[in-house]
Symmetry: C4
């Protein structure tokens, strides 16, 4: 196989694996999606004792098939990128690696299967679900709203924690150990449970005065939920509006659709979000396929 | 009865059954509404053992009366429409049929009353409540706001599920089977219960570290509720505003009322939402009565 | 006492009782406020067995003092109004009457104190708290926002009830009587508890499939809370903005304060919310004092 | 040491302690931050019996070190301010004092360690977390939104309490003492737990009618949460927008950054929030360092 043919094959594979604008690329994505979901289901079912007992071999074999598929995918991803290290140390590179190795590790330490650390490691496979975030659509402005209001939300969460610590301590004093508030960390935990309106009910105030303070905590929690909501609401309204303002108008009077990003991915630097009519990578200048 | 008279009767009946702008049409709607509510009440009461024991015959007879009424309604609806198949396979056609048949089926399999499948089928009658959605007012823009923000809400729900799976697995590792987190699906269930701030309290973390992670889950859930709220809030503000902008102004300076849709329903194609001054169906061109 | 003096006294008393723009009127309001709060506290404490046992006489005497005060207030209100029937059958007239009579009734039926109906009637006194709504400030636009979005909120609540009935029935089928879902009304109750994210935990799904449906209910409830919030948010933003737009600008460039309503109350027709500089009742034209 | 040198030292120290725009000032702030967090952690761990038993001496010595550090800080703060009384009776002055003295008091009453009042006093140390609010960034407009909507939120909370009292009394009548609603205050507590969607589940309605009322309370609580959210949302949108409107535009067409407040603090009157280019205190006119 000449160097040229090999290169062409690599370009072809890159298109299939990293992009979704060819039929093969779409097929690859659908197969990958199903494999990921099946793999998550396997991890979950394996933890159910009655299922694991009856279908152990089936689960084990399925897990091996998926692991092999992920191994092939990982190797293919590494080989078809010009700068493999860029991929390997990217977020998805690490997620892809962690999605693949747990089964191999369980093979090495097979005899000591019950070891907690190994068991934990094997559950790392659940992080495979993060592979799905690839399909989340990077262009949505949900993240922009969250990022824009990050500072204010931090202040809010910070205030929630300060309130919980102070009111948790007060509840510890009032209710005391005999009513389940055995120590301050537990009281603070109760206060967070109450302030966030979760209300498990595993610990509840028993004294009238404790119930009064609890009522105050609940009404406080019920009221301050409005604060982050108001913040994100305002930020989002703003982003939405400024997005509208910027939209160029066409001669027909209709506003042009927002610039859609195509699903191409640069073979050289893995940059995505190229515009639909892009011919060259906006980041490294390499020709796009 | 001549064909003409028969046709006239059908047009008359169509007006009564499908429309609400004649006194008879309004009466029909009110009677139907009451029948539906009574029927739902019957299904509910029947499931209460003590009531079913004491009033079995009364409930049974009432149920038969309602079933007969619904049968007549269904047949009348089929007969008075020009294209019966359009109605039969429409959403309401299917709901109307399912609202009627369970009692007949229970008659056929009367002897094997306790059979779970039959019992389930009989409970189908509760879907009769969907008949009520006919009166919901199709013109409200609640649905528009939801539809406009559908994509963003999907991303949000998707994120909630990913977070629940990952944090559920982590809680399974930390708390383990001895504290109620018997398997990963159950842990994920707990995580959804906590993240959505429902907090049943049937499963609660017992270890300090588990309670720390739980606190994080709760504050996360308390905070991210702001995201869908902000989205719908912004979408709705937008729809509300654009609706206002489009509203034509009259000479008196007051804005005209929004175009009210009348309650007429085309005898030919069942299209609704004709404007008040409409004389012909906007969909098939047939004259409206 | 001449008719003129009597009339003058009545006008004076009307000013004290119904208005708050004289020192005596303000004093009357403060005393009434304290009496109402004390009366609510009494009703509550009376229901606590240990307190009722130890302080029965004190509570009883206090209750009589308050009842006498309320009786005097009621009679004074009736006497100082030109058209007493208007007051008697107004919302506050009825509340004032119901706040006064329970103690007298308990006197009549004193011997049969434990009778449930009488006990219930005596608790009517808690509705005295509605007397407080007089001080809520009628001019706030909270009510306008709620009224403007009433129709949409009704549709929303209606949808919540339909969803609860259908999902409640499904849960009854899945979980069955052995897991606490003993009948459909109870299942629907559970569904409302879950959908509204309250989550008591007195009934919880035990089967894996039931927990799956429950997860769906919870995420649904967590998501649709955004709908009423978005509606009121949009309505309120709108009211707030239109309120601003209408505000007349003064020459100094600053916007004038919104027209404050004074606390005068017409002696003839009990109309309130007269403008500060009003000299005559805007409703019946009578001169204001 | 001459008066001049002493004065210069004081100015230097003031800069370090009260300000954060010199390297030493920043270092001081970081050390203080860590000390506060460590101190909160100590208070919490001390309340956990198993930890207190095993690490009592370590916790005690750490607590003394922190107390000494806070003492030095307090004295330094008092000495470096021109008008010490201003500081001492300011919010932070009181917080700093209360953060320091509990350990000394526990020394005096060492023998009667278990005394509840002393134990409570020692827990005052948890209020040290309020020292953190110094770092919250006073310039954020979260507080403005809250302050602007204070009146409306009060009306809302007030309505919540009235609803809870009335519905709590009704539930007390319906459910009665045998189902956990032992007295009205407890019923009102239950009603607040339910209305705020916390739902502990320690008290739950058992009768069908009680569950119906509870359903109503829950849907009410689920719906009215939209009210404060809508208020703050609208207020915040408004503040956000008016903040934008006021922003002066530069010649380049970009809007100028909002005026950032520097971290200087007047040595004379402790006023903060001076503009970045401020040379003199805007409050007392003293030269800033």
């Amino acid at each position: 196989m000449s160097k040229y043919t090999r290169n062409k094959l690599r370009v072809k594979l890159h298109e299939i694996i990293y992009e979704a604008d060819t039929p093969q690329g779409k097929l690859f994505d659908v197969v990958l999606l199903i494999t990921i979901l099946a793999s998550i289901l396997l991890v979950m079912l394996e933890s159910v004792e009655s299922i694991d007992k009856n279908f152990h071999d089936f689960l084990n074999i399925s897990e091996w098939i998926i692991t092999v598929l992920f191994t092939i995918e990982y190797i293919a991803r590494v080989l078809t990128v010009k700068k493999p290290l860029n991929y390997i140390f990217s977020f998805y590179g690490i997620v892809d690696l962690l999605s693949t190795i747990p089964k191999y590790i369980s093979l090495i330490f097979g005899g000591i299967h019950a070891l907690a650390a190994i068991r934990a490691l094997r559950l790392l496979r659940v992080f495979r679900i993060l592979k799905l975030t690839r399909y989340l659509g990077a262009s949505n402005n949900l993240m922009s709203a969250l990022r824009a209001s990050r500072a204010k939300i931090s202040v809010f969460l910070y205030a929630v924690i300060i309130i919980s610590i102070i009111l948790g301590t007060i509840m510890y004093l009032i209710e005391g150990e005999e009513n389940g508030f055995t120590n301050i960390p537990k009281s603070v935990y109760w206060c967070i449970v109450t302030l966030t309106t979760v209300g498990f009910g595993d610990i509840t105030p028993q004294t009238p005065f404790g119930q009064l303070i609890a009522s105050f905590v609940m009404i406080l929690g019920y009221g301050i939920i409005a604060v982050p909501t108001g913040i994100i609401s305002a930020e989002y309204t703003n982003i939405y509006k400024s997005g509208k303002d910027k939209e160029p108008k066409t001669e027909t009077g209709n506003s042009k659709k927002p610039v859609h990003l195509n699903s191409q991915c640069c073979i050289n630097c893995l940059a995505v979000q190229h515009q639909d009519n892009a011919k060259f990578c906006f980041k490294c200048g390499r020709k796009l396929n």
